[in-house]
Amino acid sequence: MRLLTHNMLSSNIKGVANGFPLRIEAEKVVEKEVELNTDFLRNMFAKIEWKALVEASKTLGYAELPDVAEPSMLDSDEFLNRFHHALLELHLEEGALVCPETGRKFPVNKGIPNMLLHEDEV
């Protein structure tokens, strides 16, 4: 699971008011090289919750992102590379996403987050 996905997901358990961001419990993190696509990054930048991305990348051991980001930063290659690395190249292979309100764990196995709810959660 890439951090782009993490940035889109929340816990949707019935009754949970604020299920975002999910806390990451990392057991195994891998890095996979992905071709840089600046158009895509620019496109995604406006839709990303920056703070959540910064926190999540720290949990996966990457602390190079600035705490605050502005659209003007997209002109810097260095920033784009870091953004790209955090968003698309870090993978949570094994671990869990934890609901910030209830502590319910959504497991991540083989890189696939399992967001399906149990019977008593729908």
């Binding site: 699971m1 890439r2 782009l4 996905t5 940035n7 889109m8 997901l9 929340s10 816990s11 949707n12 604020n18 299920g19 975002f20 961001p21 996979k32 992905v34 071709e35 696509n37 158009d39 895509f40 496109n43 995604m44 839709k47 919750e49 698309l88 319910r104 764990k105 497991p107 196995n109 083989k110 890189g111 696939i112 987050p113 399992n114 967001m115 399906l116 709810l117 149990h118 019977e119 008593d120 729908v122």
Partner: protein, 474 residues
């Protein structure tokens, strides 16, 4: 300028829709103004031959080269009812349009083609020799010519693939601008794909869906019923970033082994891996609050219950109201497999439209299949609609005597407002509360598979009252 567009004689309703969609993609329009089309004299609407008015040759080339169903787009140099008429037409075609392609240093090739008949090599040579009056000064190169020309002969050969007999012979001659690269169908054909499911999407249709969705590099495409990823493979081929979800974790996570899963299907063709695969229920999507306008296109084949039925969260009994929610004991939570209930088509489509309305960018496209029963004298089928969308095109593909599927292409034209969101939530609750009633409404499976009411024509012989022809207007 008017160009001659020759289509493959297949998937008849898809052809112009694909063309228009690609025109929009390369033109920057969202395809709202339809192109101008014209039929050759005496031709039927399902004929492979059409004239189309395009602003530039570059656009024509882009469309043809990206398409799946365009056999060729030609700058027409002449047409006629006989070779004599054709010659006269070509001779009077302006020199300044002809000479650049006849120059000494260039190479060329002439193809001879027909509709409804195979032309033997000697006959082809005969036809080419009749073109000797054109002052070609370049050399012939069959393999990789600079300029390709095509002579297309149509006569009443007897075989018209179901179209009405050709009234009048018509011969066309033109310079090829571009043509579909159908070699990719060979490369991506399902029979050589490693990981397949029972409803994997045929490669040709998957490419057509990607074209309907105006997929291009840098765009993000989502499939909420991803299965083995066959639709996303088509989109990724055209450069899209892809994302998919499925409720069945065995399909998205495990596949059939480490080298036979959704990822391996992308690896097999050297395509970039999906940005994300996840297990989620489209009935209760896990998107964070405030997330919207994320995807450029949503392309999918929803489970409509004929070959594969949809499932959603919440047990069958639970939704019937027969039991209270089962509370999972804490020690069993990690490996618990939640039960699911059947997902009716109406609800599935409602969720899909709501997802698309929220998650598509403005101008983004939703492309999906919708099943239609082929009943005798049935009125024109109605298709789902939504205040955020306009229906761009509908293309029917007949699957059996009983039913067909229609590829719907919808474009987002209005923002997702709070009112629309509220209404969708109320409808969602209505589906939950009256689960059984809605389930009974979608009886597509039984309509398709119930015993046939065989028609007899008095002699006891079975016959089908529906034409075998694949088009719809004959």
């Amino acid at each position: 300028m008017w160009y001659l567009c020759v289509f493959y004689h297949r998937l008849l309703e898809y052809r112009k829709a694909e063309f228009e969609s690609l025109a929009g993609l390369f033109d920057g329009r969202s395809g709202a103004t339809p192109l101008e089309w014209r039929l050759p004299e005496d031709h039927h609407a399902d004929s492979p031959f059409h004239f189309v008015n395009l602003p530039s040759e570059e656009l024509a080339r882009n469309i043809a080269n990206r398409s799946i169903l365009v056999k060729g787009i030609y700058e027409l140099w002449g047409e006629g009812r006989s070779f004599e008429e054709l010659e006269e037409a070509i001779r009077s075609y302006p020199d300044e349009r002809r000479t650049p392609y006849l120059s000494p240093g260039s190479t060329f090739r002439i193809n001879v083609d027909s509709f409804g008949k195979a032309i033997s090599f000697p006959e082809q040579n005969e036809c080419i020799n009749k073109l000797a009056f054109i002052p070609f000064e370049g050399r012939v190169n069959l393999r990789n010519p600079d300029h390709k020309f095509c002579l297309m002969d149509n006569d009443n050969y007897g075989g018209t693939n179901g179209l009405p007999p050709i009234v009048q012979r018509r011969i066309f001659f033109g310079r090829e601008i571009g043509a579909a690269d159908r070699k990719i169908l060979q490369t991506y054909q399902l029979k050589s794909r490693k990981y397949l499911g029972p409803t994997a999407m045929d490669a040709e249709i998957a490419f057509l869906m990607a074209n309907q969705a105006q997929v291009k590099p840098g765009k993000l495409v989502y499939d909420p019923f991803v299965g083995t990823g066959s639709i996303l493979v088509g989109a990724a081929h055209f450069g899209a970033m892809t994302m998919g979800a499925d409720i069945d974790i065995r399909v998205v996570r495990d596949g059939r082994g480490p080298d036979c899963n959704v990822w391996s299907n992308f690896k097999q063709y050297g395509l970039p891996m999906p940005v994300s695969l996840l297990r989620a229920d489209n009935n209760l999507p896990p998107w964070r609050a405030g997330l919207k306008e994320m995807f450029d296109a949503i392309i999918c084949d929803p489970p409509y219950g004929v070959r594969a039925g949809g499932r959603k969260s919440g047990g069958r009994k639970l939704l019937k109201g027969a039991v209270d929610p089962y509370t999972v004991p804490d020690d069993k939570r990690t490996d618990h497999i939640p039960s699911t209930a059947p997902y009716s088509l109406v609800e599935c489509v409602h969720d899909l439209l709501d997802l698309a309305a929220r998650m598509l960018v403005m101008g983004g496209r939703l492309v999906y299949f919708y099943p239609v029963l082929r009943e005798e004298d049935s009125p024109d089928p109605t298709f789902p609609d939504h205040p955020c969308f306009v229906l761009v095109s509908r293309c029917e593909q007949i699957l059996s005597y009983r039913y067909s599927r229609v590829l719907l292409t919808m474009a987002k034209v209005a923002p997702y407002t709070e009112d629309i969101e509220l209404e969708a939530r109320l409808q969602h609750l209505e589906f939950r509360e009256n689960h059984l009633k809605w389930l009974e409404d979608g009886k597509l499976h039984s309509a398709v598979f119930s015993p046939a009411d065989v028609h007899t024509n008095g002699t006891g012989e079975k016959f089908s009252s529906k034409p075998k022809y694949r088009g719809k207007y004959v």
